[in-house]
């Protein structure tokens, strides 16, 4: 048992003025004291704050993805692939923040009984990985097409005559209820697929990493991940399209017009008057679907808008690339160099293995890790970016109808309601519309939303403890190991950071890309702020995604709050050979723009100078 001690979840206090916050989230997410058995279980379990996915408290509606992965990750580990010592990952919430707990199977007989199933089922997926992955892509594309086809239509005063002449027999009110359900259902379905391969992908990583760490106890994680780098994945395609558009703009000599405004609509107006401009706009239109269905954040939150929602973002990035080109610099991703370095590192490590058994295992496991890699990256594009970008806008369409009927004051208020509450409100709305009476909602929801906004503000001010309850002696759950990087060391760091407030000189994170540099920090909270980055500065960001790619051609190091050694910032920094530290938890809160910092990407320490 570790030295690290974390509070009992039942002793974490509710923030004054937020009493009753629990109703904003599903009831099973509460830590309870009115059920002795459940309370005991919660007390004995180890819960850690999922800061990796939720740097901020969750809006009630956005909880949908948490519920979706609560179900999906757990079912694949426990009920589908029967990973022998692992059940699922349990979830709770405290003051708007999500806490999760890997659930282990402790009875040796039960574990033993699951082995044969695991070997058969997981074995089938690993063996048929490529065919099943191709099938997966088809399922995802179909799901996205279904989502795009869902129509969220306003309710007419009088139904169209076609309802009568075609004998449809259903009203727009019923359609609205049904289509809302369809959108939600497609979202849940898409998250079913999200984990179809992911648990096994991570298990393959864990196994390869474990093998390397046994042979070389001191090998840095980033060196292991480097051995599976340089594999082409579609997650990088959107950024590649931006580079192509920059190349085309240079070729057509219209870079000055692109730079004439930061507003895409103004630039578009200018370009439409020029032949070259029209040509370029055509090229842009061609790649927007699907490649601009890319979130400017992680895609997990309603406020992460996509490039298609806000074309100013890709425009800024295209301009950054075009300027580089005009300055005579290359904007090609150094993919060949990455592969050469990957091969060099792999063969050097391989050369250090002095027995045939370990060598054979190394080769097998490296091959497996390389097989799973594309899925582990690409699912993000399909689910979090492409699907989500469309999904959020469908829900906004629902919000527009609710606003029209006075249920909410602003479309963006819809995020303060749980999805079940939206369904309730839509029933209220539709029945009142059908009946020709006033719905009750307009008096119920606006004051509740006002109160919830205040609660959200208070949640944001609160710092969630990094973990709750007693750490376990062993963790077997693959995500907990690879994705959240829960180790003795990280627990100790969390404990330390939660105790130290005030004068912080050193911030620790995961060493993600090697090297040490000193430089001026630039804190960018959103991708819109990367325009302020100057050549040679150090980017400090909550997290990065492919939308942030243009930043990486300018910076000399990167520090993020959230992410592991396989996160976007880590992978891209290793490609460009600039130091990176990820998953610091708090860099954007502690570091100020303009401050001089030293980043040691080999040890994972950021020093404030």
């Amino acid at each position: 048992m570790g030295k690290s001690k974390f509070p009992d979840p039942h002793e974490v206090e509710t923030i004054p003025g937020t009493e009753g916050w629990e109703r904003m989230y599903p009831y099973q997410y509460q830590f309870v004291t009115d059920d002795p058995e459940r309370e005991q279980y919660e007390k004995e379990s180890f819960w850690f704050y999922d800061g990796l996915h939720y740097p901020e408290p969750l809006y009630p509606f956005d909880t949908i993805w948490d519920e979706a992965w609560y179900l999906s990750l757990s079912q694949f580990s426990h009920r589908i692939f029967s990973i022998p010592p692992v059940k699922g990952v349990d979830h709770r919430m405290k003051n708007g923040y999500v806490y999760i707990s890997p659930v282990a199977i402790t009875d040796p007989k039960e574990i033993e009984g699951r082995v044969a199933h695991f070997m058969e089922r997981a074995g089938y997926y690993y063996e048929n990985w490529n065919e099943l992955e191709a099938k997966w892509e088809e399922k995802m594309k179909k799901t996205i097409a279904e989502l795009e086809a869902v129509e969220i239509a306003p309710l007419p005063d009088l139904e169209d005559i076609s309802i009568v002449t075609e004998g449809i027999g259903e009203s727009s009110g019923y359609q609205l209820l049904k289509n809302y359900d369809t959108v939600i259902d497609l979202g849940i379905r898409c998250w079913q697929y999200h984990f179809e391969f992911l648990n096994l992908g991570y298990a393959a990583y864990v196994t390869f990493m474990g093998h390397c760490q046994k042979i070389w106890p001191d090998i840095p994680l980033q060196r292991i991940t480097q051995m599976i780098s340089g594999i082409e994945v579609i997650m990088y395609r959107p950024d590649e399209e931006l580079r192509n558009l920059a190349r085309k703009a240079v070729e057509l000599e219209i870079v000055d017009s692109l730079k004439s405004s930061t507003s895409f609509s103004e630039v578009k107006a200018t370009l439409e008057h020029m032949d070259a401009g029209k040509q370029w706009l055509e090229a842009l239109e061609k790649v927007r679907y699907p490649w601009f269905h890319v979130s400017t954040g992680t895609g997990w939150f309603h406020h992460d808008r996509s490039w298609n929602d806000d074309l100013d973002v890709p425009l800024g990035s295209i301009c950054t690339y075009a300027e580089k080109l005009l300055a005579g610099k290359s904007i090609d991703r150094p993919i060949e160099a990455v592969r050469a370095e990957r091969d060099r590192i792999t063969s050097e490590y391989r050369g250090l293995i002095d027995n045939d058994e370990d060598l054979a295992a190394f080769d097998q496991l490296l091959a497996t890790a390389k097989t799973v890699f594309p899925y582990v990256e690409n699912h993000l594009f399909y689910v979090e970016h492409w699907f989500h970008s469309i999904f959020w806008n469908k829900i906004r369409e629902v919000g527009a109808i609710m606003k029209e009927h006075g249920f909410i004051d602003d479309v963006e208020d819809i995020w303060l309601l749980k999805r079940s509450e939206i369904k309730d409100a839509l029933w209220d709305l539709v029945t009142a519309w059908a009946t020709g009476v006033k719905p009750r909602g307009p008096k119920v929801w606006p004051p509740e939303i006002e109160w919830r906004k205040g609660v959200m503000e208070k949640f944001k001010q609160w710092t969630p403890p990094p973990a709750l309850g007693p750490p376990p002696e062993v963790i077997q759950e693959p995500f907990t190991i690879v994705l959240w990087g829960v180790t003795n060391e990280s627990l100790a760091n969390w404990a330390e950071l939660s105790e130290a407030d005030g004068d912080v000189r050193i911030i620790k994170g995961f060493a993600a890309s090697p090297g040490t540099v000193e430089g001026k920090a630039r804190v960018c909270r959103t991708v819109k702020e990367i325009g302020e980055l100057e050549e040679g500065e150090i980017l400090v960001a909550p997290t990065t995604s492919p939308s942030w790619a243009p930043a990486f051609v300018k910076i000399k190091a990167c520090v993020t709050d959230v992410g592991g050694v396989m996160s976007h910032a880590a992978i891209v920094c290793r490609e460009y050979g600039v130091p990176a530290i990820v998953g610091t938890g708090s860099a954007t809160k502690i570091i100020k723009s303009g401050q001089m910092i030293r980043v040691n990407g080999s040890t994972g320490e950021v020093e404030l100078l």
Partner: protein, 361 residues
């Protein structure tokens, strides 16, 4: 010297692992390093052939082996008496003119090459059985440092010859049933590095046995302070594959050994307070050492234990010297066990891995 006869002297650059019988392990190993592209202080060997010429030419051969007959390994009094007598004989004997000329000429050429008149050298014995894997005699033969001028070089060469007949060496041969007359000794004569900083390097993490790591211990002055344990050296851990410096511990180094130009020897000095906590070598030197370590290991095909120094007088870039390299013995003797036992397929490995999990101690 004619072409068919083995030479009495041999430049390190002409030594290699096949010349152990002629120049001993230490000099052969230096030659190996030079041929592999590793910078070592220049020098030459007086060969075992030179040793035989010496004892033969001086006519003391029979007298020596006479002393050694019927000795018992347990009779320390008699052993010591015999050793003293033989060593006096050797140290009082004269070199043949030819051998003396050849050593003198080599020394003159070395001084010219180092740009130092009567260059200070280390004179050390290079035994033919020493430094071989599994049979470490380290410390059983003599080393004389800061020897300057041809007279002193010749005198100390004789002292090294005589170390073949130390009490311990004689007792060891009796115990192992080695023929006294079959063993010979070579002497290495090598430019002294006027070290600014020095230490040891392992091309393995000696604590964990991780072969992907390089450990460097470093302190100011000569390496004696590090080897003898008189200072706690700076510690640098380097990733062998990426050459990243992954760990750096800067210690308080209170003393150093530096050259005493009056006595031509090293002397212990207290370091001034302001130097004690400074990193003893710069990062570029750490990287250069690690690169050399990789070449040395590749050359020998095994993790190595290396002594090195940074020269005070020479220009940066050409001033890091490797003083000694030998196979690391602690981990080499532990037969490496596969970590993946009994697993045949990737699925077997994955199953073992999820069953094992990650321990939280």
């Amino acid at each position: 010297m004619n072409a068919t006869q083995a030479p009495f002297v041999c430049d390190f650059r002409d030594c290699n692992r096949n010349s152990i019988e002629l120049v001993g392990g230490k000099c052969a190993s230096l030659g190996e390093l030079i041929n592999a592209g590793i910078r070592v202080p220049p020098g030459f060997a007086v060969t075992t052939e030179g040793f035989f010429d010496f004892v033969g030419g001086a006519g003391i051969q029979d007298a020596i082996y006479q002393e050694l007959t019927d000795l018992s390994g347990d009779d320390t009094v008699k052993l010591k008496a015999a050793s003293n007598k033989i060593r006096s004989m050797i140290e009082a004997a004269e070199f043949s003119t030819e051998l003396e000329d050849q050593i003198g000429e080599c020394y003159r050429v070395l001084s010219v090459r180092c740009n130092v008149p009567a260059v200070p050298v280390a004179v050390r014995s290079s035994a033919t059985a020493e430094d071989l894997p599994g049979a470490s005699f380290a410390g059983q033969q003599d080393t004389y440092l800061w020897i300057r001028g041809i007279e002193d070089v010749l005198d100390h060469t004789k002292k090294c010859f005589s170390s073949l007949f130390s009490t311990r060496a004689i007792a060891y041969r009796i115990r192992m049933d080695f023929e006294h007359s079959a063993v010979a000794i070579s002497v290495g004569i090598q430019k002294m590095v006027n070290s600014y900083a020095a230490g040891v390097m392992f091309t393995i993490n000696p604590t964990s046995g991780d072969r992907s790591m390089i450990l460097i211990n470093s302190s100011f002055g000569f390496g004696e302070a590090v080897v003898s344990g008189e200072v706690t050296p700076d510690v640098f851990m380097i990733n062998k594959v990426s050459l990243d410096l992954v760990e750096r511990i800067i210690t308080t180094k209170e003393v150093a050994y530096i050259v005493d130009h009056e006595t031509h020897s090293s002397k212990r000095v207290d370091l001034p307070a302001e130097r004690q906590n400074i990193q003893s070598i710069v990062d570029e030197e750490i990287a250069e050492l690690a690169r050399m370590g990789k070449i040395i290991e590749k050359h020998y095909g095994a993790p190595m234990d290396i002594e090195w120094a940074v020269d005070n007088d020479m220009a940066a870039g050409g001033n890091i010297f490797i003083l000694q390299a030998r196979p690391e013995t602690v981990w080499a003797n532990k037969k490496s066990k596969p970590v993946a036992v009994g697993n045949k397929t990737a699925m077997d490995h994955i199953l073992s891995s999820v069953m094992e999990g990650v321990k939280m101690k």
